[in-house]
């Protein structure tokens, strides 16, 4: 009768006992409040990094049509890598929102009977409205993608009577004419007011989010707190001023279409 005892050959090197593997330490990170918040922080930090890179790319509009159009072509030419980045970004975005909403619902149910008299001592407005500003940013991002990535919102009339989709505009070298697309996009007052409002929401969201991420990662301390707060404000101001500057430059006529 063969023995059921494992032979030496059946042992795998560096193996954990059952129930102690990767899942055993990743599951609590997804299920507990502290772990979920860590993930909201990680995804938030990654999204903030994206927003900063996105802004730096957009600011190329100030150095002329060739600069921004060649940057756009560089991104397009990444091909499959661009799609991996896009899906990665979408994944981070969805995870950030889903986890944040799940935590919010949880904390809402943690106080079934509200206070008759409610007072706030030191919590900032930004920290108490993260879900509101977050959902506003979500609505804006959907619009932004429909507007500049999918071209569903606006068509432009360059030669009178002929309307073309913004995304079909080409420059002299045959590249997508992002310079003209952006300028025509922001020439519409309704659209640009929406963009400026969204920058306001993003500013409030980042003013709490960036510094809060450090606290969540356990990287805050009385010594570093002033620097971390300053960094939070700096990122929020940079993103808000940088993005708004493009819209305002189009409004004031500083940036003009070539055609």
């Amino acid at each position: 009768m063969p023995s059921s005892v494992p032979t030496k050959r059946q042992l795998t090197p560096n193996s954990l006992p059952p129930g102690k593997g990767l899942l055993a330490w990743t599951l609590p990170v997804f299920s507990t409040t502290v772990g979920s918040k860590l993930l909201v922080g990680v995804t938030g930090a990654a999204l903030t990094a994206f927003v900063i890179v996105h802004l730096i790319g957009n600011l190329k509009i100030f150095s002329g049509p060739d600069s921004i159009n060649s940057y756009a072509k560089f991104l397009k030419d990444l091909g499959p890598l661009l799609w991996i980045m896009r899906f990665g970004l979408l994944f981070l975005f969805v995870l950030h929102i889903v986890l944040a909403i799940r935590l919010k619902l949880r904390s809402r149910s943690a106080r079934p009977v509200p206070y008759v008299s409610e007072a706030t001592i030191q919590a900032s407005v930004a920290s108490r409205t993260m879900i509101v500003t977050g959902l506003a940013i979500l609505a804006y991002v959907v619009f932004h993608v429909a507007h500049f990535t999918l071209g569903w919102v606006q068509s432009v009339e360059i030669t009178p009577g002929i309307y073309t989709n913004m995304l079909d505009l080409r420059d002299v070298e045959g590249r997508a004419d992002v310079y003209t697309i952006m300028i025509y996009g922001f020439r519409n007052p309704l659209v640009s007011i929406l963009y400026l409002a969204a920058q306001g929401f993003l500013f409030v969201h980042l003013s709490h989010g960036v510094a809060s991420t450090f606290q969540t990662f356990g990287a805050n301390s009385p010594r570093w707190q002033p620097a971390i707060r300053a960094l939070g404000w700096a990122v929020a101001i940079f993103v808000c001023v940088g993005n708004s500057a493009i819209v305002l430059a189009v409004w004031t006529g500083y940036l003009k279409p070539l055609i």
């Binding site: 943690a110 106080r111 206070y115 008299s117 900032s124 108490r128 969540t216 356990g218």
Partner: protein, 249 residues
């Protein structure tokens, strides 16, 4: 002093509860808040009414039993003070004062202003201890503790477990309580062997009790009668992250 009190009255756990109004007259500004409630209760008893039930024990600010939310602020408006050490001179004559119990799913109301805080005890039972062999007392200096660590551990250990952090938190999170208990032991050599298990188990129990999540608004720090710093929540987050990624278990 004359005061107009709006007090939460609730017969038992199942009663939905409601606010009721009482007039407190001839209140001395030197009375503590609880003494003022005693006066009101004396009058209610004389009139044949049910007195207002509220929790209290030492009345010297160290036991963590008193638990009132006054005008929306846990333990009232004075910083670093429990309700029993809050005096009526902090209020204006003729002021309208709203008195409520701690409000959280994990703190069910037993009666009027008294809540059941055994959820905090269960969090301690989950990991807020050190396992040691008992026996003869150790020599005092056998286990060196650096002075700054001893001070930090003591700052965290100042937590009296009243639950004001959860009461003040917009998300009803007791993270400052958990953080104080975790940090207290994390700064001492006796706390090291169970350090990573402790933080995981206490956070898990905290969540199971139905408390909300910490969203770094720091209302807890403002409400805490022992002025426990939110830097201990940073320590908790750091220890939790380390425990989760550690290869030990």
């Amino acid at each position: 002093m004359k005061l107009f009190l709006h007090v939460w009255r609730q017969k038992d756990r199942t009663d939905p509860g409601r606010m009721e109004t009482y007039n407190a007259e001839d209140i001395s500004p030197d009375m503590s808040f609880l003494e003022m409630l005693d006066e009101v209760n004396e009058k209610l008893i004389q009139e044949g009414n049910e007195p207002i039930a509220f929790d209290h024990d030492c009345r010297e600010g160290i036991c963590g039993t008193c638990s009132l939310v006054i005008n929306g602020m846990a333990h009232g408006p004075e910083r670093g003070t429990t309700v029993c050490q809050l005096h009526m001179r902090k209020f204006q004559d003729g002021e309208r004062i709203v008195i409520e119990p701690w409000r959280a799913k994990a703190f069910p109301v037993i009666r009027d202003l008294i809540v059941d805080r055994s959820s905090l005890d269960r969090i301690i039972q989950a990991g807020g201890f050190v396992s040691v062999n008992t026996g003869g007392a150790h020599d005092g200096n056998a286990l060196p503790v650096p002075k700054p660590n001893a001070e930090t551990a003591m700052d965290a250990a100042a937590c009296i477990g009243c639950g004001a952090c959860a009461a003040a938190c917009k998300n009803a999170s007791a993270m400052l309580f958990v953080a104080a208990k975790v940090s207290h032991l994390a700064h001492l050599p006796q706390g090291q062997p169970e350090r990573s298990q402790r933080v995981k188990k206490m956070v898990e129990q905290h969540d199971q009790e139905g408390f909300g999540h910490c969203s770094n608004q720091y209302e807890c720090e403002a409400a805490c009668p022992k002025e426990i710093s939110v830097k201990f929540i940073t320590q908790l987050n750091r220890d939790y992250l380390r425990a989760c990624v550690s290869a030990k278990d």
